[in-house]
């Protein structure tokens, strides 16, 4: 403490140039996911290297979103670094609310960040947030159950095959569901999954005139297929299952297949938590036969600096530390390569040790298969695969996904839900002044 005080005093006396060297206390808002919790454990390493202290504000994903959005729009200045996603970054960047991440150091090697991630976290070619980890979606399946069913998973299956495999693996007597998928309401939960499912059936949220497209046959086909698949072979109450619920079902050996975030791979293959750790295989997310888009999403949890913070330099130092190659090595050294934050850097996938990790290749392939600029078969006016990067989307999609969840729970028909979704979307777009 004394040292910190002395440094503060020194920086107050000396000119502006000295401030950069002064110890700051950074307030960082982050989400309570495993990789971030792990990062908090290594905070000492950062403090040791730079002298800056860190205060963590760790919140559950939805609460975090509300919290940081309120703060950035009202210019509250509560945080020096915010953990945000691919949805927020381009919108906030365009509004000038984030500090552009240029002038990063040579050693940081910004070009090493996967191009898909860099594009998704930029606006007009300027990077506004650095990916801490990135993900797409892929199929995780039980090799033993597939074998028992006499099937072999292709590298890139179709939805039809998934249905077949789910039917073959579904085994009520042994408490195994053929397939587990997200049905929980919320744009980042079931909303994200049904959107990429829609993409893989040729559907889209809006046409080029921003007219909602839920009245189109592709949506009906996608939603009908999903609902039937899950009603027949999914777990009871899938309408309330999100990422976590499915993860624990899969870890307990209750799912034949699970299509979800690639980051889940390290959890389901971790023998400490997963009963099926040695039996997990991976494949590309499916598509409807003949549709060129697959159900691959693209997401990154990234670190960004809100404009107007007093600790911009220290914050940049932190971001460079947390998203660096050295950080990955630090984690690899202590926790093993399977536990490093994935999906952010090209060099990680070139590391021989990491290539031996069973899900490494499929993760990279899945990320590369997603194209945020052309997410759908028909052209769209928006960017984003499982979301639409406009400010109104979060509110709109969480309402739409609530209607869909009501279908999954058997409370309304597919047609009713799509009709309501169309009405909600028209309402919201009108309120936002698109039409």
């Amino acid at each position: 403490m004394k040292l910190t005080n002395a440094l503060f005093a020194a920086s107050a006396l000396v000119s502006v140039t000295a401030t950069a060297a002064a110890a700051a206390t950074l307030t960082i808002a982050t989400v309570n996911n495993g990789d971030m919790i792990r990062m908090q454990g290594y905070t000492d390493d950062f403090t040791e290297k730079t002298g800056h202290e860190v205060e963590w504000v760790t919140l559950e994903e939805n609460v975090l979103r509300q919290r940081v959005t309120t703060d950035i729009t009202a210019k509250g200045g509560q945080f020096d670094i915010m953990t945000i996603g691919m949805y927020e970054t381009p919108i906030w960047g365009a509004n000038g609310w984030l500090v552009p991440l240029d002038g990063l150091s040579e050693e940081y090697d910004v070009n090493d960040i996967l191009p898909a991630m860099r594009d998704g976290l930029s606006h007009d070619g300027t990077l506004y947030a650095a990916p801490f980890y990135g993900e797409s979606s892929m199929i995780m399946y039980r090799k033993d159950l597939m074998e028992k069913a006499g099937l072999e998973m292709p590298e890139a299956p179709t939805w039809e095959f998934i249905r077949e495999a789910a039917a073959a693996m579904d085994d009520d007597a042994n408490d195994v569901n053929g397939i587990c998928l997200r049905g929980k309401a919320g744009w980042g939960e079931g909303g994200a999954f049904i959107t990429v499912t829609g993409n893989s059936f040729g559907a889209r949220w809006f046409d080029e005139e921003w007219d909602p497209q839920f009245d189109q046959p592709e949506w009906k086909e996608a939603l009908t297929f999903f609902t039937n698949l899950m009603n027949d072979y999914g777990p009871a109450g899938y309408a309330t299952n999100g990422f976590n619920e499915n993860l624990s079902l899969f870890q307990q050996g209750k799912c034949g297949m699970w299509i979800d975030a690639t980051v889940a791979a390290s959890f389901v293959t971790n023998p400490e938590d997963s009963e099926v750790a040695d039996q997990v295989g991976f494949a590309l997310a499916p598509n409807k036969d003949g549709v060129e888009k697959r159900a691959n999403w693209l997401w990154a949890w990234a670190l960004a600096i809100p404009a107007g913070t007093d600790n911009e330099d220290a914050a940049k130092q932190f971001i460079e530390w947390a998203t660096s190659k050295e950080y990955i090595e630090l984690v690899a050294e202590n926790e093993g390569w399977a536990n490093v934050p994935p999906g952010a850097r090209t060099s990680l996938y070139e590391t021989p040790e990491y290539q031996e990790v069973p899900f490494a290749k499929m993760t990279l392939d899945s990320i590369n298969a997603a194209d945020p600029k052309n997410p759908t078969v028909d052209p769209v006016p928006y960017v984003g695969v499982q979301f639409v990067a406009i400010p109104e989307f979060a509110g709109l999609a969480s309402q739409v996904s609530q209607e869909f969840s009501a279908v999954y729970a058997g409370q309304q028909s597919v047609d009713e839900a799509l009709e309501k979704a169309q009405a909600i979307a028209e309402e919201e777009m009108e309120a936002a002044g698109y039409r």
Binding site: N62, A185, P391
Partner: protein, 288 residues
């Protein structure tokens, strides 16, 4: 005794509380009114000018509006019926002679101390989860298919959680009221051979009316604004979107402060309708 002197002293003493509450009510109220006539979209640059009554019209004409009023009334009404009903029964039970009354009272009062977020999390995950929840285990033990509480019985689940939190409050007030019941009157009626139900109906219940009114009044105030219980469990899906939750969606999820503020004004109107309604009943039972 109310001399001129004590009158003005009374006003003087009341002033801080009244002024503070007036400020607490008026400042946000005026700001809400102000925003409700604006197109205010924080993610699109904030204040985009006046818009007249557009927000008001849009909020009411939204397909979500009437269902949200309905959900609000069902949740508030359901929780009131359960807590008052069971509160009376429990109060009577706890008033009987027994061993360890103090400990039982401690057990019954406990849920009142639990923060809403925690109780919602515990109920959702450890009891109502269709796979690992305790209720699912119980159902399976009896050979039944587990109920998917939060989607198939969503409103009931939320009422259950909220009632669990508020039952202690109702029970304790009602218990105190029962304890004050004139024992001799009861005894006399018992001697007369009045049946239990009749005694309850003609002697106990009228005596409790004042306490029940108070319970309804205080609980309504808190129940109208329940939020954490819904956010944590269903996120407003499956027909559990209350007016408060709808406003939350408009303000924080859709980032439309103008529209949400209009919703806030409606909520204030609803609260006042309920308040006037309550004051009518309370007024009769409460001589202030």
């Amino acid at each position: 005794m109310a001399t001129q002197h004590s009158r003005s002293a009374a006003r003087f003493m009341m002033a801080p509380a009244v002024v503070l509450l007036l400020g607490w009510m008026l400042v946000p109220l005026l700001m809400t009114l102000y925003f409700s006539f604006k197109t205010y979209l924080p993610l699109r640059g904030g204040d985009l000018g006046w818009t007249g009554f557009d927000n008001y019209v849009r909020f009411v004409s939204s397909s979500a509006f009437w269902p949200s009023i309905q959900a609000t009334l069902i949740i508030v009404g359901g929780a009131l019926i359960i807590t008052v009903g069971f509160g009376v029964l429990l109060g009577i039970l706890l008033n009987q002679p027994m061993w360890g009354q103090g400990v039982v009272r401690i057990l019954v009062i406990a849920p009142f101390f639990v923060m809403p977020t925690v109780s919602a999390l515990v109920w959702k995950n450890m009891f109502m989860d269709p796979t690992n929840g305790l209720l699912a285990h119980l159902w399976r033990f009896f050979g039944a298919d587990p109920v998917v509480w939060l989607s198939d019985a969503s409103l009931f689940s939320i009422i259950l959680i909220v009632s669990w939190q508020w039952l202690p409050f109702a029970t304790l007030i009602l218990l105190t009221a029962i304890q004050s019941l004139d024992g001799e009157q009861l005894e006399a009626s018992e001697m007369d051979g009045a049946p239990v139900l009749k005694r309850f109906w003609y002697i106990v219940l009228p005596h409790l009316s004042r306490a029940i009114t108070i319970v309804i009044l205080i609980e309504t105030i808190f129940l109208l604004s329940i939020f954490a219980e819904i956010l944590v469990t269903t996120g407003g899906a499956f027909g559990t979107r209350t007016l408060t939750y709808l406003i939350f969606q408009r303000v924080l999820e859709s980032q439309n402060v103008g529209l949400g503020s209009a919703g806030g004004v409606y909520a204030i109107i609803l609260a006042n309708i309920v308040a006037i309604f309550l004051m009518r009943i309370v007024g009769k039972n409460l001589d202030a």
